[in-house]
């Protein structure tokens, strides 16, 4: 059984490594991920938001929904732990 699990893991790893061969080179400016939306962000973000740090501009402004629901998820996790574990003191 252990040998079978090892073989399955190795086969999955080899397939995943084979899939990475089609990736664009690291940092390639002409790759599909970098050529459409990223270019617009890099050109416009500083003059539209006056935030020099591009990551903060994207996270806080262009992707505001993402950050908002990230906060809501953390809030829900904290409240769930409080609801399950915390006992009120007399």
């Amino acid at each position: 059984m252990k040998v079978f699990a090892l073989l399955a893991t190795l086969a999955t790893g080899i397939v995943l490594l084979y899939g990475t061969r089609d990736f664009a080179p690291w940092g390639d400016p002409d790759s599909p991920a970098n050529s459409h939306l990223s270019r617009v962000y890099i050109e416009r973000a500083v003059e539209e938001t006056h935030v020099p740090n591009l990551v903060t501009a994207i996270l806080g402004d262009y992707r505001g929904y993402d950050t908002m629901f990230e906060t809501v998820v953390i809030y829900c996790a904290g409240m769930a732990v409080v609801c399950v574990l915390r006992r009120s003191r007399s």
Partner: protein, 159 residues
């Protein structure tokens, strides 16, 4: 693990003078650094989430070096609940305020109708306020997670 449990059961206050003194000296600087990370997120790596985690870690360090009661003295349960709700409400409140002022949800430029500063400046300021809310929420939720997990929920003893 068993050794640690027995040691904590024998001496819940912790007896290492070096660790306690070092933590007492370190905690203000860690909190200052957390505030710096939140406020300086516009210009350097960092932001609300990371700064909030650093701020929360300072309280957790206090609870680890002393005991849980000491960290409860610096931030009580009520204040912790209040801050976590306030942080989430700041974010959603600002987003709703944008919508109520006639813009889109989370479109900070609409806040210009409240105080005219210019759309770009309001984008920058809106991101700052939102990051502040994220920082508050993350800080208090990390601390309350640690309290509940370390004490099993009764907030009496633990680690």
């Amino acid at each position: 693990m068993k050794q640690l449990q027995e040691q904590v059961a024998r001496n819940p206050e912790g007896d290492n003078l070096i660790i306690r003194t070092a933590v007492r000296l370190l905690v203000p600087f860690i909190q200052l650094y957390g505030l710096y990370v939140i406020v300086h997120g516009h210009y350097s790596p960092g932001g609300g989430f990371q700064g909030g985690v650093v701020l929360g870690a300072s309280f957790i360090l206090l609870a680890l070096a002393y005991d849980l009661k000491t960290s409860l003295r610096f931030m009580s349960e009520r204040v912790n609940n209040l801050l976590s709700n306030l942080g989430a409400l700041i974010f959603i409140g600002i987003a709703l305020l944008c919508a109520l002022l006639g813009g889109l949800f989370l479109d900070y430029a609409a806040l210009e109708r409240l105080i005219p500063l210019g759309a770009e400046e309001w984008h920058s300021l809106g991101i700052f306020l939102v990051e502040l809310g994220v920082g508050l929420a993350v800080m208090s939720i990390m601390v309350s997670l640690f309290w509940d997990l370390a004490s099993g929920g009764d907030m009496e003893e633990g680690l």
